[in-house]
């Protein structure tokens, strides 16, 4: 088994005080391994978003520990946590959060701008990331000119640009139609497999969750069930990976399998 990239120990998050107190997370202990794909599944109010925020260091737990690469992060200064997020994480959001006034390229290179990378290197890496996602021709377009699928691909390019260890995807297909969703899912899982990026997906979409190697089922702030093994849809099952969990993993034959033009 490979090392854990993210670990939690007795993670508790409580909102509010007194009688209005709400226990969003009631003591979670688990690990996410390097190169793994994990789905956090649950209905709204189950605590899955809270958990993702804690894992992504966007929020502090009421008690318990989050460790990144074996190092607890609770005691780091906010500035150090910020730069850790910038270095190691990529984010894909349901609502995209693209800045409509800026070009696609500017949106995609935002993490590098925040990291303090120079403009020429930023643009070079931005174009490379967009090329990887078949979006290079849209680099100079305004973000508002894109279709939903294109927006999400731009978001994925943005999440990739700093070569993250972990990509957090919060309902990445929530705003997309089913054909587009499939393309975006394919892109995410291909990146996960070919670049070894750890993928943490928060979703209530069973189909998306089923493609992950491991699923943490959440209910009322607790992990009520843990499933392992991807359950591929029959049409896409073609080969078996020899990576971390070889028994059940799908593998796509092409290096860039999302050339189908489904993301419109």
């Amino acid at each position: 088994m490979s090392t854990a990239v993210l670990e939690t120990e007795n993670l508790v998050k409580v909102y509010g005080r007194g009688p209005a107190q709400f226990h969003a997370l009631k003591g979670l202990t688990f690990e996410i391994h390097r190169g793994e794909s994990v789905a956090i599944v649950g209905k709204s109010g189950s605590g899955k978003s809270t958990l993702m925020h804690l894992l992504a260091l966007l929020d502090q737990p009421t008690s318990g520990v989050v460790a990144l690469g074996g190092r607890p992060v609770s005691r780091l200064k906010p500035k150090a946590v910020s730069s850790l997020r910038n270095d190691t994480f990529g984010f894909v959001f349901q609502q995209f959060f693209l800045n409509p006034n800026q070009t696609v390229l500017d949106n995609v290179t935002l993490p590098l701008k925040i990291a303090g990378v120079g403009k020429s290197e930023r643009n070079q890496r931005g174009i490379a990331a967009l090329e990887q996602l078949e979006m290079a021709d849209k680099a100079k377009n305004k973000a508002t000119d894109l279709s939903g699928g294109q927006k999400q691909r731009a978001c994925i390019a943005r999440a990739l640009i700093n070569n993250p260890d972990v990509i957090f995807a919060d309902e990445p297909t929530g705003n997309l139609d089913s054909a587009t969703s499939e393309t975006v899912e394919d892109i995410l899982f291909t990146l996960h497999q070919e670049q070894g990026i750890t993928l943490v997906v928060v979703t209530h979409d069973e189909d998306l969750a089923a493609k992950c190697q491991r699923r943490l089922m959440m209910q009322d702030g607790l992990i009520v069930e843990e499933q392992t093994g991807a359950t591929p849809r029959p049409a896409q099952a073609s080969a078996v990976s020899d990576r971390q969990q070889p028994e059940n993993q799908t593998r796509r034959g092409r290096r860039l399998p999302f050339r189908r033009g489904g993301a419109k």
Binding site: L58, R85, N86, F97, K113, G116
Partner: protein
Amino acid sequence: MRSVDVAKSAFGNTLRSKLRTFLTVIAIVIGGFTLTVTSGLSAGINQTVDDMLAGYGEEDQLFVMHASAMGMGEETGPGPQEYDPEVAQQSSEFGQAMLSEEDIETIADLDNVTNVEPIFFVSPDFLETSGGDQYTLETLDVPADGPAMELVAGDVPAREAMEITIPETWLTIYDADAEDYEDVDPQIALGETVEIGISNLVYEQETVEAEIVGVSAQNLAGIGGSPMPSYALNDELYEIQISGLDVEQPDAFIQAVADVDDLEANEQDIKDALADEGMVGLTLEDLLGIIQGVIDAIAWVLYGFALIALLAASFGIVNTLLMSVQERTREIGLMKALGMSSGKIFGLFSMEAVVIGLLGSVIGLAAGLAVGFTANALLTGGDGPLGGVGGLTLFALDPAALGLIAAVILVIAFAAGTLPAARAAKKDPIEALRHE
């Protein structure tokens, strides 16, 4: 985030909502414009006064007046005053306290005073050219003003010679074809002989001959607006003016000019000594300082208004940026989620305030300078209403003041930006991303 990227992003962001930025900037422009015009005006007048002082040169002179003439005498109160025949005789037609012969002697006896020239006003009747043309001549400048006179040609009359200067507006006398005195070469008047007619106490006219040696332009203090005789000519005219009656009347003078050895070193001593005698001594610098003081007072009032305008504008910045922070909540959340520190968020938004301030100060200063120099050219140019005032500069460039104005605006803008910037920096990324 690099500083250059922060600056670029801030600049880009302020241009996103152009109308709103424009309106906010206008408020700052008004303040900056007022400050610029005021500082230019103050610099221009002060430059004019300094030029006049520089023209005055080394002359170590002190203008002496009766203390009460300067409002510095004993407080007598509003009630009836006891009659004192000596004092009563020494009042001018305007009721102004005058200097007596005795006072002049007192001044002359002071240490370091080398010479005292009492100043008296003569009222001649006419000036006649060698061609026989006569022109009304009601007032003459006093010879003591000579050193402060702005000359466009020739020299100040020599003390002992029968000489006179004429103002440049009189040049048309010597060139009847010229439509405007400015078209006349002032040199043609030099060396011309004129006769000055004056009446004595029993209205008998006499004339005195004098040579034109200089052509003057009227300056800010009014000097040079009338012909100015030499001391000798002035004395001669005065003698005629008070002759005709077989009565001895005491001489009284509005003021006297005392020549002082090393004025800089002895100025205070002599002023103190004069004060003991109920007189006031003023240097030319003091006299012009009164003008400067008035201009400075006006300038400070205008500065005050401009600063109030800037204060109002700063609330415009606060308002604009608070709106901007509110509108861009999700963007702020995203930047924080992607690892931008609170400090950099603060920097980004306060930089936007500074950019607004910078736009306002650049436009305001440029507009102020443009209007100032244009108004100066129009007003003090040949055809302008103040064109006849020699050596007058209404508006001058003062780089230090402009730098200070820009700095003040930027500091105010930055201060105004801190509240919205702090609010942006404090936003919780999760809350911000959820914001609709």
